[in-house]
Symmetry: C2
Subunit: 427 residues, 2 copies
């Protein structure tokens, strides 16, 4: 029986765990695959770091040379980022290897080209670990729901921002303070931009929307708003309404079925919603489909071992396919639905205004909402010396209508400022 | 491009929905499979019932003749029960067809023989719908977690009993009253035995344990206790401890890893546990594995359309394999772990005793627990005229130690009876 050879690109948080489990669980992997798998090389950037458990002669800093080796059956890419990951994966396909990757940024930017390269090479490209870490999500969407029609995917797919929002909610801390704690505890990276500005979640939303709707969706198609503008006042206001603020990724099919949208932004959801209780760095994703109804998937969204679990699940699948001389399902983009911009998205809004504390202001504000066809659900008024705040929660309206309303509100003399606008979801 | 032909065996709750979706979503299924699929025949028991949406000439009462047709690529078995389902599936394999089934009873009784027949025919046997309805669970366990080591599967896998327990909890109703309501609302069948005695959940536990532990487990290996003995007093006692009673299926690897157990029984879990909030006919399953940590899967556990969603996901996979000339992963039972009986299972217990209201009874009872090595966590004593009740909650102990303790308690003069024994889980 032949041994399958695996090249590991990257040996950081995830790669170290992949290598460890491949070694410690070699017998189980062999039994499940039907042939032994062997780590044939490990590419890193810095040659001279200690890599416990990995034989020195496996380490190389020349990743390109490693993926060009013709004895490599599967390449695991856990370097991250666009380049050199992209070129390395394409080279791997050129040399007949299948690829397992955890790289959401790359898949969301250029997934179709990579899938095309895999298909023309007769190779597999699997990336379960790229979305929601350990949680089996892409395989269920792609395979278990292959006979169903998914209408909506809604979830918490970034642990760093969930940790920050959780802190703000439980301690009343402001955004900067909560971010500092997340950084100190290792939940946020030194440069937290990708997480807090929503880039990471947007990449995941693009991948989810693409698979759920059988349509090409890239990160550029995803509306994205991070949580840097979320204030302690927003969190408190959410609390007052028995809501909680979460950074959500939402992929939806339009009511008429002809288009889809994908967006990432902070949103208020009821505290009774199952996503409200997702704590710390956990992830959870709801999938709504026509026949299955509402499904939820929950688990660790990141971390070395959880992410390695997803990578190794893909490794087993890809190796089985290799031995069978087949490939798994590739990209499915036959539906070619239009990916619509944010304007047409329909949801509810929480709008917080600083207004002059005068008679008639509420009537003025209400008129502006009405003129733009945005119907008001509730208004809460809080008076202070000379000025006041108005918190308006709307019924469902399009993003375009809400934006026009807000522009008009800014032009009212009695509106001193729009303190915050937040979407209200999950009801 | 050739058309794949499907024989549908059974056209009841599930089969009707399978046929409907195959017709209404034919174009999507064809695009996802890569070839059209056609319903080539539908076997039922009663020929002369209206079958809306299904052409009369497709209906037959001769299922055997249908599965013997050599143009059938895939057989979907949604008849249920052991025979004739078993023989029909074996005949299907003999004639080269792959099989998709929703039949937990059959798979739990005889899964290995069916898998062996599929393997020797070079055909697929898929049955995602057999456990937890629409929830993608078997595919994630078998494939997504193929590189991980599952240590525990714990869940609510029977909607009927969950509905009954939910009613008892929310209204204070007794078991019979809650069952009556479940029957009236269509949540329980006319003969509810399979559900309320835990047979249905035990079949699912056997299937889950087999896949999770790569070991053959049949329904006969599963310890099974239904909920017919659960009283309103048990529910109230659970409430008093801020717990809730659920019928759980639990599959566990022993601490030393050499054996596994599978069991189904009512248990108290904390109200703060995520399974506590699983309402009505929903199902939810926790999976704990070494690398991934704790995952949860949640969704509709039954119903025509949800179950059909799972069946059709399998249909797409099996059809793709057919076209590729390959087969998916078959039975994986290489680990051959011992399936241990209940004696060695370690958990906590809630023991409710009717005792004489005399001085020294508590000391006597406590001595019996101590003599059997079962350590007591809390005791609650309630006095009534002349007699009293004692509710003892233990620390973790083996089932054998608890059973021996209870036998000894029954022999105490001052113990008038053991009102109930319930396991305490999820802490
Ligand atoms: N961490 C998580 O929880 C998580 C979760 C889900 C998905 N992911 C994804 O998994 C991937 C890896 O993440 P990570 O957290 O493991 O990253 P990491 O800890 O930063 O590790 C990156 C690894 O890549 C190596 N590397 C960098 N540039 C290289 C080059 N040009 N050639 C060869 N090797 C190079 C680094 O080498 P040195 O060791 O020499 O620095 C390091 O071993 C990313 O795509 C990430 O988005 C991570
Ligand atoms: N219902 C659920 O929510 C659910 C959920 C998960 C799994 N399942 C599983 O799915 C399977 C089907 O369940 P179901 O609820 O759809 O059952 P059902 O409503 O009782 O339907 C059974 C079907 O099988 C047909 N049938 C019975 N004996 C037959 C025979 N000898 N030859 C040919 N056809 C025969 C019946 O014909 P007639 O129509 O003429 O009576 C009927 O169409 C079972 O294995 C069940 O455990 C069901």
């Amino acid at each position: 029986m032949r041994t399958l050879k695996v090249a590991l690109l990257g040996c950081g948080v995830v790669g170290t765990e992949v290598a460890r489990i491949m070694t410690t669980h070699a017998a189980d992997l062999a039994a499940r695959i039907g042939a032994p798998v062997e780590l044939a090389g490990v590419a890193v950037r810095r040659a001279n770091r200690p890599r416990p458990g990995i034989a020195d002669e496996l380490i190389t800093t020349d990743a390109t040379e490693l993926v060009k080796r013709d004895d490599i059956d599967v390449v695991i890419e856990v370097i991250g980022g666009i380049e050199p990951a992209r070129s390395l994966i394409l080279t791997a396909f050129d040399h007949g290897a299948s690829v397992v990757s955890a790289n959401k940024a790359l898949l969301a930017a250029d997934g179709s080209a990579l899938h095309a390269a895999a298909a023309s090479a007769g190779a597999d490209l699997y990336y379960e670990a790229a979305v929601a870490g350990a949680i089996p999500l892409l395989r269920p969407l792609r395979e278990s729901l292959a006979g169903d029609k998914v209408n909506r995917v809604l979830g918490i797919v970034n642990g760093t921002t969930n940790f920050i929002l959780d802190k703000m909610d439980s301690t009343g801390a402001g955004y900067s303070e909560a971010l500092e704690e997340a950084t100190a505890l290792g939940y946020a990276e030194a440069d937290p931009t990708a997480d807090v500005e929503g880039f990471d979640a947007a990449a995941k939303a693009a991948i989810l929307a693409g698979i759920a709707f059988h349509t090409r969706v890239t990160a550029a198609d995803v509306f994205r708003e991070g949580l840097t503008e979320v204030t302690a006042a927003d969190i408190a206001s959410a609390k007052a309404m028995n809501n909680i603020v979460k950074l959500l990724a939402i992929c939806e099919r339009s009511a008429d079925g002809s288009s889809v949208t994908a967006r990432v932004h902070p949103a208020m959801i009821p505290r009774t919603h199952p996503l409200a209780s997702v704590r710390g760095a956990y992830n959870a994703v709801f999938v709504e489909s026509e026949a299955a109804g509402q499904l939820m998937f929950y688990g660790p969204g990141a971390g070395g071992a959880p992410t390695a679990s997803a990578v190794l699940g893909d490794l087993v699948a890809v190796c089985r396919n290799k031995l069978a001389g087949s490939t798994g399902p590739g990209e499915s983009a036959y539906a070619q639905l239009t990916v619509s911009p944010m304007d047409g998205v329909v949801t509810r809004y929480h709008v917080s205004l600083d207004v002059a504390d005068k008679a008639g202001v509420l009537a003025q504000v209400a008129t502006v909402f009405a003129e733009h066809g945005v119907s008001i659900d509730t208004v809460r008024q809080q008076g202070r010396e000379g000025d006041a705040s108005l918190v308006v929660v709307t019924h469902r309206a399009t993003d375009a209508a809400l934006s026009a309303t807000v522009s008009a509100l800014r032009n009212l003399d009695n509106v001193r400022g729009v303190a915050s606008i937040m979407r209200v979801e999950g009801e």
